[in-house]
Subunit: 370 residues, 4 copies
Amino acid sequence: MLNELSSDKLREKCGVAGVYNSDLTMDAAKYLYYCLYSLQHRGQESAGIATTDGRHTYYHKDMGLVPEVLNEEILKQLRGHIGIGHVRYSTTGDSKVANAQPLVVRYRGGSIALAHNGNLVNAAELRDRLEEDGVVFQTTIDSEVIANLIARFSSNGIVNAIERTMDMIRGAYSLVVITEDCLIGVRDPYGLRPLCLGKSEDGFVLASESCALDVIDAEYMRDVEPGEIIIIDREGLKSKRVKEVNRRAFCIFEYIYFARPDSVIDGTSIYAARKNAGKILAEEHPVDANLVIAVPDTSIPAAIGYAEASGIPFGEGLIKNRYIGRTFIQPEQELRETAVRIKLNPLKYNVCGKRIVMIDDSIVRGTTSK
Amino acid sequence: MLNELSSDKLREKCGVAGVYNSDLTMDAAKYLYYCLYSLQHRGQESAGIATTDGRHTYYHKDMGLVPEVLNEEILKQLRGHIGIGHVRYSTTGDSKVANAQPLVVRYRGGSIALAHNGNLVNAAELRDRLEEDGVVFQTTIDSEVIANLIARFSSNGIVNAIERTMDMIRGAYSLVVITEDCLIGVRDPYGLRPLCLGKSEDGFVLASESCALDVIDAEYMRDVEPGEIIIIDREGLKSKRVKEVNRRAFCIFEYIYFARPDSVIDGTSIYAARKNAGKILAEEHPVDANLVIAVPDTSIPAAIGYAEASGIPFGEGLIKNRYIGRTFIQPEQELRETAVRIKLNPLKYNVCGKRIVMIDDSIVRGTTSK
Amino acid sequence: MLNELSSDKLREKCGVAGVYNSDLTMDAAKYLYYCLYSLQHRGQESAGIATTDGRHTYYHKDMGLVPEVLNEEILKQLRGHIGIGHVRYSTTGDSKVANAQPLVVRYRGGSIALAHNGNLVNAAELRDRLEEDGVVFQTTIDSEVIANLIARFSSNGIVNAIERTMDMIRGAYSLVVITEDCLIGVRDPYGLRPLCLGKSEDGFVLASESCALDVIDAEYMRDVEPGEIIIIDREGLKSKRVKEVNRRAFCIFEYIYFARPDSVIDGTSIYAARKNAGKILAEEHPVDANLVIAVPDTSIPAAIGYAEASGIPFGEGLIKNRYIGRTFIQPEQELRETAVRIKLNPLKYNVCGKRIVMIDDSIVRGTTSK
Amino acid sequence: MLNELSSDKLREKCGVAGVYNSDLTMDAAKYLYYCLYSLQHRGQESAGIATTDGRHTYYHKDMGLVPEVLNEEILKQLRGHIGIGHVRYSTTGDSKVANAQPLVVRYRGGSIALAHNGNLVNAAELRDRLEEDGVVFQTTIDSEVIANLIARFSSNGIVNAIERTMDMIRGAYSLVVITEDCLIGVRDPYGLRPLCLGKSEDGFVLASESCALDVIDAEYMRDVEPGEIIIIDREGLKSKRVKEVNRRAFCIFEYIYFARPDSVIDGTSIYAARKNAGKILAEEHPVDANLVIAVPDTSIPAAIGYAEASGIPFGEGLIKNRYIGRTFIQPEQELRETAVRIKLNPLKYNVCGKRIVMIDDSIVRGTTSK
């Protein structure tokens, strides 16, 4: 199954978050705003929040970074103590606002909003079957398939509908869902995508990474288990373990470069994992060098690990221009060879005349540069 | 039925257009752009175009005026010889981008795009029945109900599906629809909303008003008949008269102030209708006056008609500031009484010391001012 | 002298306004905003306001229409009871923000802000002389020459400086000027450009056209005389007639199409002047026709005048699309011939088969169309 | 003199660059764009470029970051082989577009453009004297004083004018200047602000920091000497040492946190200087700790230096959110205490239970945190 997913793995790096405040007067939107900010590294293409005050469901989503999509005025309109948010990764494919999340739909049971991180492997097959039944689709995202399944299975309540939906869908999914009265978190049976649970002063928080709990002062409780459904409503938190599989298959790229180093996923510190990878590399591939440098910024922990294990000093070797953004004009003609220096300039003082171990994100493939 | 509609009549002033070019290399989008520009008076809230090149369906829609939503770069991406467009009236209600049209959906038969002018009276009832069957809704527009019905009835082809849909829906609707290979126009059995048919050099055009035919040099053929379906594909134009009713019920407000004076609707010139209304007013309500003026700009024909019938000279009496737009800052406090003069300043030279007949849009209610 | 100016006459259609409120707590900026709105037809390229509260001088100016340049937040920052404003005509020449007005400078006497409508004929010569003295110029507008002259002559006060400046400059100028404590209006000795004076509830107003007085409920007092300086400060209004010439040379294009029909310039209603021009045309060029139409909107008064004098009925013949703005995409190829219809569509009902007198702005050149 | 400057030192952190291409067909603007990008850390308030093709001088400047102010279309219009650029530091004071640089003026000798990094201590006195002579000022920047002085002294050529200007002005200044035919660089006699000289393939480059040479593949030649004028024209490079003082007074804050670590200023690597400061700190203030961390990102070299000298391992301790920008909404009420975590989240894995040496920019003041 991992193979089937692998071609799409980069496309499906998204971030999700959910907030449930017990105090009905505390709006979830502003909390979600900060959660999404701290998950921004997981997706820069689109952002969105959906909330409910128990009667109405509000949402706003658009192409762009969190601060481009959401401002104070919009956050005020996103009323209600329950909400979810989503950031989507930039890709050239179906990059359009119709595919931004959360997806909000009205069904016989009321309103439901979903945000999805992952990639179903049988989405096309499920679409075909639903279309045969007369269903129309307005987007190309998996969330719309999931929403239709939940709606069809909803005669015995939302949790039952989600269980039956999990029987149908295959692949990677970490889902956050809201109805008018509850927040639900779901993780696929293999635990392919991360999803963790936190306790805030006044309620609960779900998020792709624990760094999103930190920013709103929520305490990390645990990761949502593979195949688990978490239901949070006025009665508190319930858990249902609906699908069990013998093996886990967490995406290794989360540890290598997706996740933030200050996050803990499935009990392991990302920073520790990266530093340890550098140590292993130093042991397996010792080199005779004067300096260990990192290609900023993801690989700094691995470089520090390599340095500590090898005894070769760690230092800066490439200085990043912090201001290069999306509107940067790519150099042409004469300057093409030096283009890379605009973003990343060698620190000549430190690197000239030295033998360098350069650690970048591809260390898992065993690359070592001099 | 008209009564049921009346409360919403202002909300449902929209404009629709459809273009079918026989020459596959001639893109429909640019024609639609000019059509929508000439229908802009029918809706300033949102605008959108959907096109098909026979294989893919493209669309773009957003809040704003036609030139704000559509630019040259976007038009280039809206490929294909068949297309439809929509402008939506500004309202405080469900003004959001999710409700912009055309609505584009994928169903078992392929892709379908719809644009709707009107207001169904049984939409809520139909939604409930569809939701009972497990359908989810993402918008609050009638087009989504219509699209779901068409998809469910589509086993015997799109035309049959539209006929069966017309059996279900009640109320006002002028619809333009595209599939991958045809353009379809539909008008409700009472003919409540306008829809006319034109012949372009290379194909056919459908539009809410004939002024949209003029701008692309298409020749006005006739109005679509109440209860008629027009199908345009590579074999040419076919017509099907599916629903007949004995009485017509065209919305009188189209003649009074919705439509443009250079349009012809159901065989009657809007300009002539307005001028004639002014004449009748002069006969029924003769007044002793020196000057007939119009509250710009819609009532100029009626004022001219009144002047001709009464022998009282027509003149300008209120000068409109052509630059007042949506970002205009409303005056406060001291200037409140004079606020109206900023938009519409009395032409003192012409009106001071005179007895004035002032004709405005409400002439049908018999108001005459001095 | 008119000949020298004529080539530039279109370039120098600008609008100016000045407000002096006796009540120190009444900010001038909002009044100027509405004045500029009503003068927008005189210039759409740039807009700006400068104000003073007696201690500091504030200004804001930029490319664009009044509502694009000025918003509520900016108006709040433009503090003080005295102020001037400017709108500049759109042109391809030196269209840049550096040339927007008012020009605000610091000189030995404090701060001075100027806004200028007109065109000096000896500006280049004066620039050369000032540069010889070591002066540097940052713009290409005449106001910068005038400001430098005033600064150099300022040892005996601002009014004396303006008088001496008027001795140097030649050409068309209607100027509004503020220092920390007064508002000054100046009109060139030939009266080439308009400038009128009004009385507001609490002070005085200067403006290019009287329609700008109407919108803020100021009463039209009179036009500033050719060669006159008006000084308004806490002691009230003073006038100084500094330059007298025997002949006046007001720009005829103001009457034909620059000014708004509801303005009165040098005692003559623009509407009356245009209507009268139509009457004279009817007498000098009688034609056998069924209908008189105007090319909207400037020539409606002349068309009404022609109709009244000739007995031929006036009617609408061309319907203008009110929504065509600066971002309109020009049609190419196939649609080129019909392009004009997008902006101005013939009202076929009214014009087909008739003999038409079409009145446009060029009536002064004697053109009459059938 | 340093004391007089010190209160303003932060305000006057700007970046300047100048490019002279011998090949007349090679436009300077694009090179300057990349130079300014690499100097962006020196100023984020405004950006601008002025160029000359030997006949006309072109410029564009506005509030905002380099990519906000300059785009491909604008760069194309900035024609010519000679040019200068400027980035200005963000401040609450006179932050307005009128104060953006370069300043471009017309004077008797033609056009001149200037960009200035520094702060004159006798600017107010010079302004007063110039105003007494009838000069008007349109900005509050020192460049306008300098431009006026150069213009007044210009009878014997631009270089002589700059020399005479240097006799008048006191304080910190690194200046780049262009006329129609040359690029000039000037550094004040104390060398308070940096300015370095590079050789490009086809000409010469001046820049505040050497990192701006690297990005356009220019070779660092040397720093401009205190009191030196560099003149680059078609005959090559000339140097004139006009003012000599016995002592140098380079601003220490450049080494501590203004400059980029990959720059070399006055022969010293910024990285080396910072790392060395960390070493000295370790020697002067040894502490018993388990981990040395840096408050990102400026103090990483000092932290590495401290770690190396003390033998305490260096590691990451605070993870920065790279996406926090100017539109970030500050948290209120409940979240205030945790606000700092949104921008900088503690890496709990690495810091919990450890004794930490935290190195930040204030190391020169001897602060050490646990």
